[in-house]
């Protein structure tokens, strides 16, 4: 009878099959996926030849390039651009973000243009930037900042705008001065918004750094990557890509640590 048909979906069967808290299944999944990928890579690498070298060859190349190759000097160049970009993003993003929240007429006047600039693919502005400011470090920083500043800027503005009136009115009733208002109300309230913007900007600054290095006279890690493409050396390109991927994963991890700290902080702040 259809009415008493046993309901046995794939999900419920899977649930019965699962053992509660089977950490080893999870481990096995991770291990299996890594073994399968590396095995496939190795096998394909042996059959494709020049265009796709095996995993072991790639790792060997990576090791060689770390020992004596262009990788570490390239990393130093990129790290400098990255650091300058991130610092400018944080300082300018927070200051301008607060100003936009504080001075409403300026915000109303410039906000549409900020959003348009945010939506415009910054890469397409590179020729314009290079004509105006040349190809030196300053224009690289400009391109890189244009790509990665907006999460902080917009986050801080929206955070400062969402301060509840009651907080501000209570501060007013207790007669707090402008500096007390900033120290006790505005800064603590805006900090989580700023931090989540900074978290995004930590990852985006790397995108900005690479874009600036790719398109304004190749330099740093991007130049090392392009060098491999010109000499059609897939081992070289794969090794550098993996190296960049490892750095990116590390930076995203730092961002997530900040967020985890933040979430805890937010909970205690709410009470």
């Amino acid at each position: 009878m259809a009415a008493v048909r046993r309901i046995d979906s794939f999900e419920s069967r899977l649930a019965r099959f699962r053992i509660v808290n089977a950490w080893w299944i999870r481990l096995a999944c991770y291990a299996l996926s890594i073994v399968l990928l590396l095995g496939t890579w190795q096998a394909l690498g042996h059959s494709f030849g020049v265009l796709f070298v095996p995993f072991t060859t790639t790792m060997g190349r990576l090791w060689d390039m770390l020992q004596s190759g262009p990788l570490l000097p390239g990393l130093a160049v990129s790290a400098k651009l990255y650091g300058v970009t991130l610092v400018i993003n944080i300082v300018v993003g927070v200051v301008v973000g607060l100003l936009l929240a504080r001075i409403k007429l300026i915000a109303a006047a410039f906000e549409p243009y900020i959003y348009i600039l945010y939506a415009t693919p910054t890469i397409s502005l590179v020729p314009f930037v290079s004509v105006m400011f040349g190809f030196d470090f300053g224009s690289r920083v400009l391109v890189s900042v244009l790509i990665s500043i907006f999460p902080i800027l917009i986050g801080v503005t929206e955070g400062a705008r969402s301060i509840p009136r009651q907080h501000l009115d209570v501060a007013a009733i207790f007669g707090s001065s402008e500096s007390q208002l900033w120290r006790d109300v505005i800064v603590p309230y805006v900090t989580p918004y700023a931090m989540s913007g900074i978290k995004q900007s930590i990852a985006l600054s790397m995108v900005g750094t690479l874009v600036a290095e790719f398109f304004l006279n190749p330099d740093g890690l991007a130049a090392v990557l392009l060098q491999g493409t010109t000499i059609v050396d897939s081992g070289w390109v794969l090794a550098v890509t993996i190296f960049i991927c490892a750095i990116a994963v590390g930076l995203v991890g730092v961002g997530e640590l900040i967020e985890r700290y933040l979430v805890r902080w937010r909970h205690t702040a709410v009470g």
């Binding site: 999900e11 109303a108 959003y115 397409s124 105006m132 493409t229």
Partner: protein, 269 residues
């Protein structure tokens, strides 16, 4: 008396109305600021920079001749066509993989290492290896756009379908839902806002990365023309292309917001 809340935070709209009706300070201010920006740009370029540098009047004059050329339309068709095709493929694949990851945790564990590592990687770093494999071809652009869209959509769909309230699942079970009903009848609709957010992010990244591939692999398209026109010292025409890209990007963004309101009216953010 000026209270603190009038200094920072949301202002009552009435404070900013001169008179009444359509013309308010909030509407006038952006126009004034835009005019000031354009004038400063124009004057600065005329007085300080060589003649070929783009300036507003030059761009305005370059619009008719650029739009009239056949090259412009073939560039637009190539780039926007590749982006739209890539978004379609990438988001379909991303939704399928994302639902599987969100609903079956073993699949999630199996795939998440790679998806998260690639998601963290600035995709522009993948362009050289894709060029090496696919060649200096338009296909390289399509591949990069597909990857740029697939990753955010897979991640957001997985997050959205994983966090479904147990009530929905219980109701589904009571009405005898089968696995596909669970996945595509319950999980997917309730993850709609997440998926649209993923597609929106993918669109933005896809546009940027498509341009990047065009320049690095010398594939004809709008991004390529931005750079070649600039190299030919025809910056005004180059900026017309940038303007079109910006209009496309802004249009897609607002379209996606409407889309989310339409598909997921219950979701306020």
């Amino acid at each position: 008396m000026a209270t603190y809340s009038s200094r920072i935070g949301a202002a009552p709209a009435a404070r900013w109305n001169w008179g009444s009706g359509f013309i308010t300070r909030e509407r006038v201010a952006p126009m004034v600021a835009g005019a000031v920006l354009l004038v400063v740009w124009e004057v600065w370029v005329r007085t300080h920079l060589p003649d070929f540098v783009a300036r507003p009047s030059g761009i305005a004059m370059a619009i008719p001749s650029t739009i009239a050329s056949a090259e412009f339309w073939s560039d637009v068709a190539a780039t926007l066509g590749a982006i739209i095709e890539g978004v379609a493929i990438g988001s379909a694949a991303g939704v399928l993989v994302g639902v599987a990851m969100g609903r079956v945790r073993e699949i999630d564990w199996f795939l998440s290492t790679y998806i998260r590592a690639l998601y963290a990687l600035p995709l522009i770093a993948l362009v050289p290896i894709v060029i090496l494999w696919v060649g200096y071809q338009p296909a390289a652009r399509l591949v990069i756009v597909v990857i740029s869209v697939f990753l955010p959509v897979a991640v957001t769909t997985a997050d959205g379908t994983r966090a479904i309230s147990k009530d929905y699942l219980d109701v589904g079970k009571m009405f005898g839902a089968r696995t596909l009903n669970f996945w595509f009848g319950i999980a997917l609709p309730s993850a709609t806002p997440f998926i649209v957010a993923g597609i929106e992010l993918g669109f933005a990244r896809g546009i940027t990365n498509a341009i990047a591939v065009e320049i690095l692999a010398s594939v004809n398209g709008m991004g390529m023309s931005v750079f070649t026109k600039s190299n030919e010292l025809n910056e005004n025409a180059s900026l017309v292309y940038v303007l079109c890209l910006a209009i496309f990007a802004v249009g897609i963004r607002s379209l996606m917001i409407h889309f989310r309101h339409w598909l997921a009216p219950w979701y306020h953010r």
